[in-house]
Symmetry: D3
């Protein structure tokens, strides 16, 4: 199991744990969260990049990784991804560089994974 799969499995397991204890308020927040990224006046792709940038400048590795995966799923190109992170780098400064490194490592893993997958007939 690769790094991406491990991340997603652990995330799912811990989300289940949060829900086990969650009160009504926490449950509502967790259902509000995906609503922010749904198709609307802005396309999903743009919204995922906005979520990525917000996570990037706030420097949360788990949040960044989640949005890197989502951006990849939405078909964002490497050039678009890099340009988005560059904005984050300029706004957030060199303190974001370790997060940029890890974001790029996740991106690379996703590229290689895509390349490995045979085209389904």
């Amino acid at each position: 199991m690769g790094d991406i799969e491990k991340f997603q499995q652990e995330r799912a397991e811990l989300n289940e744990l949060v829900m086990k204890y969650a009160g009504l308020g926490t449950k509502r927040f967790y259902s509000l969260d995906p609503q922010a990224y749904r198709e609307g006046a802005l396309p999903v792709k743009t919204k995922e990049m906005l979520g990525l940038l917000a996570s990037f400048v706030l420097r949360c590795d788990d949040c960044i990784k989640y949005h890197v995966i989502r951006c990849h799923e939405e078909g964002i190109s490497t050039e678009e991804f890099e340009e988005a992170l560059f904005i984050g780098l300029v706004v957030g400064g060199s303190i974001t560089i370790p997060h940029q490194r890890r974001a790029m490592k996740a991106w690379e893993a996703l590229q290689n994974k895509s390349a490995d997958q045979p085209i389904s007939p």
Copy 2:
């Protein structure tokens, strides 16, 4: 002179002061900054929204106001603007609400200003 014009004039005056004292490094940073928002794989409009979101969750009123103005200049619709800020609100939490209020006040001022301007012949 309206609030927006006052903001832009003060910003220009203080930028001049920064440049008066700036070393080569600071000058290079200030010329790198606009490069991040230039047309590329991503359109300027998307880049300005990314800058807005980054500024919003980092809660810098001056930076938010600057990008609100730029988003308006790039023709972002009110729906797009609101959806972008909603992502910021979910990611950044209720601590961003005072900034959302002021961002909306600036947006409203920009709308009214546009409405006031006679269509040039």
Copy 3:
């Protein structure tokens, strides 16, 4: 009109503006927010102090002022208030001191206001 009343009026006006533009998501967030401070396993008084501390270490003056007013309304004593802010000062460091000053100024204003009000017959 005192500083506290001015703050509350401006807050109400801008909230109205946010709601004028708000999509369904933003509206849900704004209705989720007060839910966090409602009586539950923890009393309202404790919850307001938790909101105060969170706002204090995140250094948002408007959020701090709002919770200072709410703490006062919930009958928190000056000793309790001061002890809560001291925890914020230790956790958040001297960078919170300007916010502590302004929080204390708002507290003082609330104390004087209470003292001024005649006991209604």
Copy 4:
């Protein structure tokens, strides 16, 4: 040795290292820190929740874990714990979710640990 014990041992070892090098100022700060959580106008239980919330919205996993353990020692109920974190989630936004997951994991570990311990005769 469980995760909680490992955390506490490593914390103790590194504190010793800090003290080995500490000047008078650092030593004073380290003795001021526990003073903030001592019984006063506010009970220890409330103070530990305030420390938890401050650590939660500032997103420091080690600090959160420490206060989760202390909250558990002070006999905070699961409902109280969950309500406190919900305030943190609303104030701090979805960027705190990974920390909420890990806080809940630590809470679960503490619950299981308590359940395992035989009632001393």
Copy 5:
């Protein structure tokens, strides 16, 4: 009364207010704070620049202004001041730019003030 004097007077007044309400803990913190900037293995001048940088990247205008004044009092040159802020700009990113502008405005005010003062006989 200039901007610098007004800032210092307001700061002194509010500090007095904090002290009026302060418990023993808060008082100890306030006496620990100046200890951090006292002559030691590092000279006061370096320590004030360290305090300036910390305040700058944490983006607290009042704290920045305080350390700008102290740096000026310690005889830091304009070149040294600008180089220190450039490090802050690179580490903290463009989000620090509005603070850099205001820091420079305070610096300019201090330069002009020094120039105005007649050399005492």
Copy 6:
């Protein structure tokens, strides 16, 4: 291979990955970064301490470790190092303590490493 060497190797590998994908903007930022720490009106030693403090209060472990190594290379004494971190502790508060622990662990590793190295003839 010790912890310091592992850190430096991983850092170098990931920097290479960032550069593989980097656009012109990102490349320029990465070349601007070392410029901030070059000899100027302020000596390199002071600049590295400024970078350390900025990283410390912004609580980025990788950035802290990098500057701890650089401070050691520039011949900063243990007393100077400890005094700098004490300023960070006071400004940034107890939330920085876990980072102070890890900074001290890295410092200790560097001291031991230096002691191990035979004096070259």
